[in-house]
């Protein structure tokens, strides 16, 4: 009986031991995610596109671990661009175009730029019919056909791109990301569509595979770009620095 009880005890302890070994070899993905609180007076502008935070720091990282953070992407005002060919007859100096999307507030102040490819034109927007979404233009040269390009602010939503990016310049002491790091970074929604003045949380996860290697301190960026109607496209990049365990 004594031997039997001891046998049961040993089997039980061995089973517990096996469970402990199993738990000890598993990665323990842990992270904290806190939306940054901005100091008074530094609230982000509602009318302009912004990305927060500017820098994310991961520490104690190791193969098999996961780190996650919600970045914030804000759509300021959505600009649209259209191009029309407008012809004028002899003595005619005005025309109009119907905009596919309305002007913000139905106001002419939402017309950002109005240019013609004919140098003899001096186009300007002089009126807007809200119901017809029709923009009246004056300052056109008579007896000419030209292409008019209009950039304006619209209440329609805008598409963003959110993506992994290799740094153009590094934070001091940090290295370029290891080969394959692009595949470790997962953006929960890489193409969000945001209404004007909408802010969206987007989860970015860094999942380092078991057995992968990386420099002790490395850096990558998360880029955010808004589909732009203009010639100049702006990209905002959040720096992500990673320090591996033991450094």
């Amino acid at each position: 009986m004594k031997k039997f009880m001891m046998g049961v005890l040993i089997i039980g302890l061995l089973a517990l031991s096996a469970c402990s070994f199993s738990g000890g070899t598993q990665p323990i993905p842990t992270s904290t995610s806190v939306i940054p609180t901005l100091p008074t007076g530094y609230e982000p502008p509602e009318a302009q596109t912004w990305l927060s935070p500017g820098r994310v720091q991961i520490g104690n990282f190791y193969p098999g671990a996961t780190a996650e953070w919600n970045i914030l992407v804000h759509n300021g005002e959505n600009s649209c661009k259209i191009e029309y060919y407008i012809g004028t007859e002899a003595g005619e100096t005005a025309g109009s175009v119907v905009l596919p999307e309305g002007l913000v507030g139905g106001s002419l102040s939402s017309v950002v730029s109005l240019v013609s490819n004919y140098l003899g034109d001096r186009p300007s927007s002089v009126g807007y019919n809200v119901g017809k979404k029709e923009l009246a233009i004056s300052g056109l040269a008579p007896s000419t056909t030209r292409k008019i390009s209009i950039v304006y602010l619209s209440p329609e939503p805008s598409t963003f791109s959110i993506y992994y990016k290799e740094p153009d310049s590094l934070t001091e002491g940090f290295s370029m990301p290891p080969i394959g790091a692009k595949d470790w970074v997962i953006v929960s929604d890489p193409s969000p569509v945001l209404a004007p003045k909408e802010t969206r949380e987007i989860m970015v996860s860094v999942v380092m595979p078991q057995g992968a290697t990386a420099p002790n301190k490395w850096e990558f960026w998360i880029g955010v770009a808004q589909a732009s109607a203009g010639m100049v496209q702006v990209e905002l990049c959040s720096r992500w620095t990673v320090e591996m365990r033991g450094y």
Partner: protein, 179 residues
């Protein structure tokens, strides 16, 4: 007595891995600075208009500006709306009209154009940056909360065109907090 020794050995096998686990379970830490990034560029559009081969087109009035560049002869303005200083990179891209394209390159050629850019204070034409399809640093340490930098661009048209199609393209600005 032999049984108790065996029990002690087995107990140590149970306890030791838990100690090891505690050593390996240090949490990954993740922190972020309480800030945001926001830059704007105005004007958003540059309509170059009709272009003849091998011609030069400045954004500001289509005439060669005086050097060093000053605010008065720069067309574009980058504004930093963020509460942190930023660095801004710039790159160009091909101009396209469907499948037809003008390639961007340091020297003009057939269906190949060149674009140079410079910020306020650029000493001379040679000091302007020649754009490629890769980012290069353009504005360093632009101050926070409304600070601006003015800049100018010039396009050198291709030496010949295979098509008269109207092409369009973009200039790309990329901002991040200073390192």
């Amino acid at each position: 007595m032999r049984w108790w020794i065996l029990v002690l050995v087995i107990c140590s096998l149970v306890v030791l891995p838990q100690v090891a686990e505690a050593a390996s379970s240090v949490s990954v830490t993740i922190n972020a600075t309480p800030d945001y990034l926001s830059i704007t560029n105005a004007p958003v559009a540059w309509n170059i208009g009709a272009i003849e081969k091998s011609t030069v087109h400045w954004a500001h009035g289509n005439t060669t500006p005086a050097f060093p560049l000053d605010n008065g002869n720069c067309t574009f303005t980058i504004t930093n709306n963020a509460p942190v200083n930023v660095d801004v990179d710039i790159k160009g891209g091909n101009f396209t009209a469907g499948a037809y394209k003008w390639a961007i390159a340091p020297a003009i050629g057939s269906d190949t154009y060149t674009m140079k850019v410079g910020i306020n204070g650029t000493a001379n034409l040679g000091a302007m940056k020649t754009l490629t399809e890769s980012y290069q640093e353009f504005v360093s340490d632009l101050g926070l909360s409304g600070n601006t930098t003015k800049w100018e661009a010039v396009l050198y048209a291709p030496s010949s065109f295979a098509s008269s199609a109207t092409v369009s393209g973009k200039i790309y600005l990329s901002a991040r907090v200073v390192s």
